[in-house]
């Protein structure tokens, strides 16, 4: 019942669509994980909607007090070292291998669970965004997604690359074929994940 009530959240439908298209593109593990998150989010959103029907889309509860404080330097250094170790270890395995898959799923699950409820540090909420400026961002980002989607559908099949219409995955293949390339990209991915958890 709660999960059905949560289906009103558009993000749930986007995740379900991603789960479907990822699965038919030959990545069943990704699809199943997306499906699990979609159902979990629908259940969570529905449970809150049933508890407080008038509240609508609840804002993320703020963490503690007002001003964001800088993280102590030793903690920052420890996090950076952990990120480098993770990137070196996981990047040393070839792409799509089981050890690499386990490393990615483990960290992804941890970050999504840590960030599910609220940011790990207090942040100013920020006011309303300028409409025209926000629209400019949306136009550019949606154009990027549509361009990638067009390239994907111009391939001979969803699982066969095209030289004439390369997707971002195809273009990054040479970089990710090498260990240093994988390590570099993994470190950037980890750093961006931490940045998001703190937003």
């Amino acid at each position: 019942m709660a999960a059905l009530a949560g289906l009103r959240a558009p993000v749930v439908w986007i995740l379900l669509a991603i789960a479907f298209f990822t699965s038919i593109s030959g990545k069943p593990v990704d699809g199943v994980l997306m499906l699990i998150v979609a159902v979990g989010l629908a259940w969570d959103a529905g449970r809150r909607a049933l508890r407080q029907p008038e509240a609508g889309e609840a804002a993320v509860p703020a963490r503690a007090a007002a001003r964001p404080r800088g993280r102590p330097r030793p903690v920052v250094i420890a996090l950076a070292v952990a990120g480098v170790v993770y990137a070196v270890v996981v990047g040393s395995f070839s792409r799509y291998s089981w050890p690499a898959t386990a490393g990615i799923i483990g960290l992804s699950t941890g970050v999504v669970l840590i960030g599910w409820h609220r940011p790990v540090r207090s942040r100013p909420g920020g006011g309303r965004l300028p409409v025209a400026g926000t629209l400019a961002w949306i136009v550019v980002l949606v154009a990027g997604c549509l361009w990638e989607l067009a390239s994907l559908y111009l391939q001979p099949s969803l699982t066969t690359d095209s030289y004439a219409h390369p997707t971002i995955s195809t273009l990054t293949d040479p970089l990710l074929a090498t260990s240093p390339g994988r390590m570099l990209v993994l470190f950037a991915w980890v750093a961006f994940g931490w940045y998001l958890v703190e937003r």
Binding site: V11, L33, V37, L41, A59, W147, L176
Partner: protein
């Protein structure tokens, strides 16, 4: 110009658009939010927050996981 060059030019154009918007947001008084402001706004709700985090997780899964 080949189709491959056209496709790559499209990606370059999108990246250039992102860089220009970010520079306008952070270096000028033009009323454009920075990418960070956009993310903060999107992550104010629980579903938006989880949606953005899952998008990040999906990138890792897509490029590295089986």
């Amino acid at each position: 110009m080949t189709w491959r060059e056209v496709t790559i030019a499209g990606y370059v154009l999108v990246v250039a658009g992102i860089v220009v918007l970010q520079l306008l947001a952070t270096r000028t008084r033009v009323p454009i939010p920075s990418f960070g402001d956009l993310l903060t706004r999107a992550m104010r709700s629980r579903t938006g927050r989880v949606g953005v985090l899952v998008a990040w997780a999906w990138i890792g899964l897509h490029f590295f996981a089986r």
